[in-house]
């Protein structure tokens, strides 16, 4: 996907002014945070589970080569095939080739963020295949020709009215001629249309929540059951997954599953948890004839070797964005690539470069809410700060900020001049503010006021001056 992260500032302002988007965001606002809190409160061992999860992820990443090989061997043993894609282009080419070789025409897809990341839909459509997303949210944004704005709720930015319009525009060909208004009606409408697609599909593509090394099993979680139908009805099942998805054992996967749904939607467990291992065996009543896994690196192994290894612990639950006040204000599209919110603000610059996405790590107040709720304890604010450091070293940031910081450091290491400067500043500002006690505007400080706020004036004397005077008086 072509990144638009360089335009973050403009896009975030547009998002703030988009009234429909704000309605959708406000509706979603506290829902997930409240549900997560309830689920966590209901599980006293939640924090101990997080520690276990961190240990599992760290251990796996420490020995990633080993577990990937074990996983690949197990997949091959079960009759499946593993394809290694070092780049997004590789991944697209591999998927297209498999579909061509299978003589496919219709392809169904379960939700896959790595699929979005490598742009698999565009590649398949360009190659002439019909691709249908089967997750309801993904289906909606496919109708709207938009990328997801959230990693677990891709259409969270859409209002009910907008979704009704999309069905009205796109489902006339399926015999829908009236405007739907109720959610169950819309779900049912999508279900009817998708059912026919499942049955007609030659290839089903899903993502992976976890890949189990000991058995070669792919685990996906859904709430709609679309994942099951996508991986078991077509002749060919393709799993697209990042290389960091591997876990050593089925037990490890279940430990992580206990955290995943609680952190994501506040459910104890998603409605469906689907384990698929290899193609249909003789005697099996259903399942695909071919089972392929496309393991995508696309920058992950360099993260492994870098300061950002901890980011690879991510299990894509979305809790960080559900608790991020910046995400809550602007939604996911402003971030300009596949992954929004705090995790996206780390991943995007690492994937598309700091020059393109330098705004993302900066557009954060470092309030720490994301790290507090992260089920695998990724220190997201620290990673964002590390990216800022990298940006500073590469001299990519704003020049005036750089000069300002240099001046401030000089000033703060010269206390006499600092004392004098601050005294003058406090006195001047208090005088200029006069009877009002605050500023409604000020030259050179326009950015503060762009936030729709006044600037309180200082009391007039610095503390250090007051203190010095008091000390003199005490001595007398």
């Amino acid at each position: 996907m072509q990144p638009l992260s360089h335009a973050f500032k403009e896009r975030s302002v547009q998002a703030l002014q988009d009234e429909t988007l704000q309605v959708a965001l406000n509706r979603a606002k506290d829902g997930f945070a409240v549900k997560r809190a309830r689920a966590v409160d209901g599980l006293p061992e939640f924090d101990a589970l997080r520690d276990r999860a961190v240990a599992i992820r760290n251990h796996t990443l420490e020995h990633l080569d080993h577990y990937l090989e074990r996983y690949a061997d197990a997949v091959e043993r079960s009759g499946g095939r593993v394809h290694w894609a070092s780049s997004a282009e590789d991944a697209r080419r591999i998927v297209v080739d498999i579909c061509r070789a299978a003589g496919a025409r219709m392809i169904t897809k379960g939700k896959s963020m790595v699929g979005e990341e490598v742009g698999v839909n565009d590649a398949l459509e360009e190659a002439g295949f019909e691709v249908v997303e089967t997750d309801l949210g993904e289906y909606i944004i496919q109708l709207a020709h938009e990328p997801p704005s959230h990693i677990i709720v891709p259409a969270v930015h859409k209002t009910r009215g907008q979704i009704a319009d999309l069905f009205h525009e796109n489902h006339q060909k399926y015999g829908l001629h009236r405007k739907l208004s109720e959610v169950p009606e819309m779900v049912n409408e999508a279900r009817q249309v998708l059912r026919a697609k499942y049955l007609a599909a030659d290839v089903g593509i899903t993502g992976a929540n976890f890949l189990i090394a000991e058995t070669g099993t792919n685990v996906i979680v859904t709430n709609e059951g679309n994942g099951d139908l996508t991986c078991s009805l077509p002749r060919v099942h393709i799993v697209t997954a990042g290389i960091e998805k591997v876990v050593p054992t089925a037990e490890d996967a279940t430990t992580l599953l206990r955290l995943l749904a609680r952190s994501a939607t506040g459910q104890d467990l998603t409605t469906y948890t689907t384990f698929s291992t290899g193609p249909k065996r003789s005697g099996d009543t259903d399942g695909p004839d071919e089972y392929h896994v496309v393991l995508v690196d696309s920058g992950r192994s360099s993260m492994l070797a870098d300061d950002f290894r901890e980011m690879l612990r991510c299990i894509r639950c979305g809790a960080c964005m559900n608790h991020c006040p910046v995400y809550g204000a602007i939604g996911g599209h402003a971030y300009g690539w596949v992954y929004p919110g705090p995790m996206g603000s780390v991943l995007t610059p690492l994937s598309v470069g700091l020059k393109e996405a330098g705004n993302l790590p900066n557009a954060c107040t470092l309030n720490g809410h994301c790290a507090e709720v992260c089920p695998v304890r990724i220190p997201l604010p620290d990673l964002l700060r590390t990216l800022r450091h990298r940006e500073y070293q590469l001299r990519l940031g704003l020049k005036p900020l750089r000069w300002g910081l240099a001046a401030w450091v000089w000033f703060t290491s010269h206390p006499r001049i600092y004392r004098l400067g601050t005294r003058v500043q406090a006195r001047m500002l208090a005088l200029l503010a006069g009877r009002k006690g605050r500023f409604t505007r000020m030259p050179l400080a326009g950015s503060w006021f762009k936030g729709g706020r006044d600037l309180p004036a200082p009391q007039g004397e610095t503390f250090m001056a007051v203190w010095k005077r008091r000390q003199r008086e005490r001595k007398q």
């Binding site: 975030s12 507090e372 450091h389 910081l405 240099a406 401030w408 006690g437 605050r438 936030g451 309180p456």
Partner: protein
């Protein structure tokens, strides 16, 4: 300029170096005076090193780690002689506690930074958790609400401590706001780099504050409080803004942040 030892230390009383923070120094000396008063009530001998400036957070959070380390060295030199370093800001106290990270490859300075981090405390949690203060002698007959500043809340686990002390203030009624743990949108340079996003966040915060019907909002970090006061002032509402220490020390009889001088904090 030397670290002035203004008051002779009394044996048995810990020597506390007050790091007043650049914002309190410039904007709100009353916060520094409140901190001194509270620390003295907690039987500390308070000193104010004249060499202190800024904690280094602007550099640290904007990627200039060398600049932050320079400021950190300066602060360490000014404060390492004390038993404790106390800061009326969770954010700046958190920065001082992060100093060891700036010296990963300089073992001498790292040790000094670790010693400094180990004795640095945010003011209110120092009073309660280290000095065992359970009540204050102050009265404030107004309805207040409290904003939990993020760094204090999440990095230093400050949540109950200010509420416990506020409960002992004569006449004060605390009315909790919704989303008191949600960021106000200040975020240091964030608020000027992304003013529109910051503005939306502080507008939400102001709405949560006004919805309580309280006439005063308190907090423990001046950065957040300047932002909140700026928004409340723009809305022209009658909610006044004070640092929690001013109320606990009984010296919130001056105009609130952004209130007209001489108004005594009365509705503007």
């Amino acid at each position: 300029m030397t670290a002035a030892t203004e008051m002779p230390a009394t044996p048995g009383r810990p020597r506390v170096g007050l790091f007043v923070t650049c914002l309190a120094d410039i904007y709100r000396p009353n916060v520094g005076l409140a901190a001194v008063a509270l620390l003295e009530q907690a039987d500390c001998s308070v000193e104010v090193p004249q060499a202190q400036t800024c904690c280094g957070q602007p550099s640290y959070n904007n990627g200039d780690l060398a600049g932050a380390a320079k400021t950190a060295r300066h602060t360490i030199e000014a404060f390492e002689e004390f038993d404790y370093v106390v800061v009326p800001s969770g954010s700046c106290a958190g920065m001082l506690r992060d100093y060891p990270r700036l010296f990963a490859s300089e073992s001498g300075w790292r040790q000094r930074a670790e010693a400094m981090a180990g004795k640095t405390h945010e003011l209110i949690s120092f009073l309660t958790d280290v000095r065992g203060m359970a009540a204050v002698q102050a009265s404030f007959g107004r309805v207040v609400t409290y904003h939990d500043s993020c760094h204090g809340l999440r990095a230093l686990r400050i949540k109950e401590q200010p509420r416990r002390l506020l409960a002992s203030v004569d006449g004060l009624e605390l009315r909790e706001m919704g989303d008191s743990e949600v960021c106000c949108g200040f975020g240091g340079t964030f608020c000027v780099k992304y003013p529109e996003i910051s503005g939306r966040m502080v507008a939400d915060k102001a709405a949560a504050i006004t919805a309580t019907g309280a006439d005063v909002v308190l907090g423990g970090d001046l950065g957040c409080l300047l932002n909140i006061a700026g928004r409340l002032g723009r809305e022209g509402g009658g909610v006044h803004v004070y640092h929690v220490a001013e109320v606990l020390a009984g010296i919130a009889d001056v105009p609130g942040l952004g209130d007209p001088p001489g108004s005594g904090g009365e509705p503007r």
